[in-house]
């Protein structure tokens, strides 16, 4: 079977780049497609200190950049392309790109990652006008201002601490009465005078003339609502998988077999086994896009290494 590539990697975050590193070293005929910029969610993180090898920690951008350069140095081809669909017609997989180009491959690793989950309480019209998912991008615009942060996990707590470098006050709104974040982050947050915790509460709305002026908070137990006067609202309430391109293809005029039989959970995360095999032979998934208990850089790169090994195995068996 003649195909353009042996392996196509979709996504250029830590999982995709690691898959690229392993595949390039294995001298596979491989290409990586990234739709915006390589690095993935990592590049919005201000500081990473749970990824081994960086004793003093490292900025998310720098870590992403190092991974990218490592992959490039090993000869990985990275193209700036948006994958719109995967067609899995037996052993040959066809990748549909945004520019109507079609690429054939023997194996695919989906490492398209995830994106911040939205609240859907009317924040859309304030995007870039007070509402943000990225403290490292937008924090400095809130110097000496008051902001609301939403969430209770690692990202919410870490980024709230970062925001206190600029904001005079950060209200951290969390729907439970305790944080889910790692203990070391909790300790730092509790010690930080600028952070005030708003427990058992959710953000139920926001208003403002041009940009955010008020954030509406609702107590989940009493139902009581109150307004916090704030100039910004940073949202860190988890992630959604970037698998819409697989679902969307169902509605297109192309007959996409992959989307129909690629098993995902209710949230749209892709099911795999421990070999990173999806429900379709020759299609693998790695990193945040798959159903996992823990979504970390460390787990994403582990997934990717396994996925490449499995893909090689799969391709070898095809040729037998």
């Amino acid at each position: 079977m003649q195909t353009d590539y042996e392996l196509v990697i979709i996504g250029g975050g830590p999982a995709g780049l690691t898959a690229g590193i392993y595949a390039a070293r294995a001298r596979m005929n491989v290409v990586l497609y990234e739709k915006s910029a390589p690095g993935g969610q990592v590049i919005v993180s201000d500081w990473i200190e749970n990824y081994p090898g960086f004793p003093d920690g490292i900025s998310g951008y720098d870590l992403g950049d190092k991974m990218l350069n490592q992959a490039k140095n090993l000869g990985l081809t990275i193209e700036s392309e948006d994958v719109t669909a995967i067609e899995a017609d037996g052993e040959c997989k066809t990748i549909h790109l945004n520019n109507k180009r079609k690429i054939t491959t023997k194996a695919v690793i989906i490492a398209s990652g995830a994106s911040p989950r939205k609240l859907n309480v009317g924040e859309a019209k304030f995007m870039g006008k007070g509402v943000s998912f990225c403290a490292t991008c937008d924090g400095p615009f809130f110097r000496d201002k008051t902001v609301v942060a939403v969430g209770g996990g690692d990202t919410a707590v870490q980024e709230s601490i970062f925001l206190t470098r600029f904001a005079k006050k950060v209200y951290l709104v969390h729907r439970r009465s305790e944080l889910r974040a790692t203990k070391i982050l909790q300790e730092r947050a509790f010690k930080n005078d600028k952070i005030e915790f708003v427990w058992d509460s959710v953000v139920s709305g926001m208003d403002g003339f041009f940009s955010v002026e008020n954030v509406k908070i609702k107590h989940v137990k009493t139902g009581e609502e109150k307004n916090i006067k704030a100039d910004g609202c940073f949202i860190w309430v988890g992630i959604n998988p970037n698998t819409d391109f697989l679902k969307d293809s169902l509605n297109s005029d192309i007959n996409i077999n992959a989307s129909k039989s690629l098993k995902m959970d209710d949230g749209g995360f892709i099911h795999t086994n421990e070999r990173m095999e999806t429900s379709i032979p020759g299609i693998f998934a790695a990193g945040d896009v798959r159903t996992t208990q823990l979504k970390q850089i460390a787990t994403a790169v582990g997934d990717a290494a396994i996925a490449v090994m499995s893909a090689e195995h799969y391709i070898d068996n095809l040729q037998d």
Binding site: C137, D138, F141
Partner: protein, 108 residues
């Protein structure tokens, strides 16, 4: 770094952007913003494609607070597309290259 993307300051904004005869894409960025740095190569590649048809400029929001304030920018990267001094499109955050190409094509 592409040589054809002009780094401008607040003082030059009027002449380089508002009064430009070519459509202009303004990239509001800062050195501390990871996503801004991450999309820079994509913007440089687009500059190669649209060279001569669209003018590409960059404004460092740290050094030039007036222009971002004027356009109400509270998030970066923000790309604003101008034609005849008017805003045609504004895109905030990291988006697909394809979406940027759409916005550029709409300028022409």
């Amino acid at each position: 770094m592409s040589g054809n993307i002009i780094e401008i300051d607040d003082a030059a904004f009027e002449n380089e952007v508002i009064k430009s005869s070519l459509p202009v894409m303004v990239d509001f960025w800062a050195p501390w913003c990871g996503p801004c740095r991450a999309i820079a190569p994509t913007i440089e590649a687009l500059e190669q494609t649209y060279s001569g048809k669209i003018k590409f400029v960059k404004v460092n929001v740290d050094e030039n607070p007036q222009s971002p304030t004027k356009y109400g920018i509270q998030a970066i990267p923000t790309l604003i597309f101008f034609k005849n001094g008017q805003i045609v499109e504004q895109i905030t955050g990291m988006v697909a290259k394809a979406k940027l190409e759409q916005a550029m094509d709409a300028l022409l």
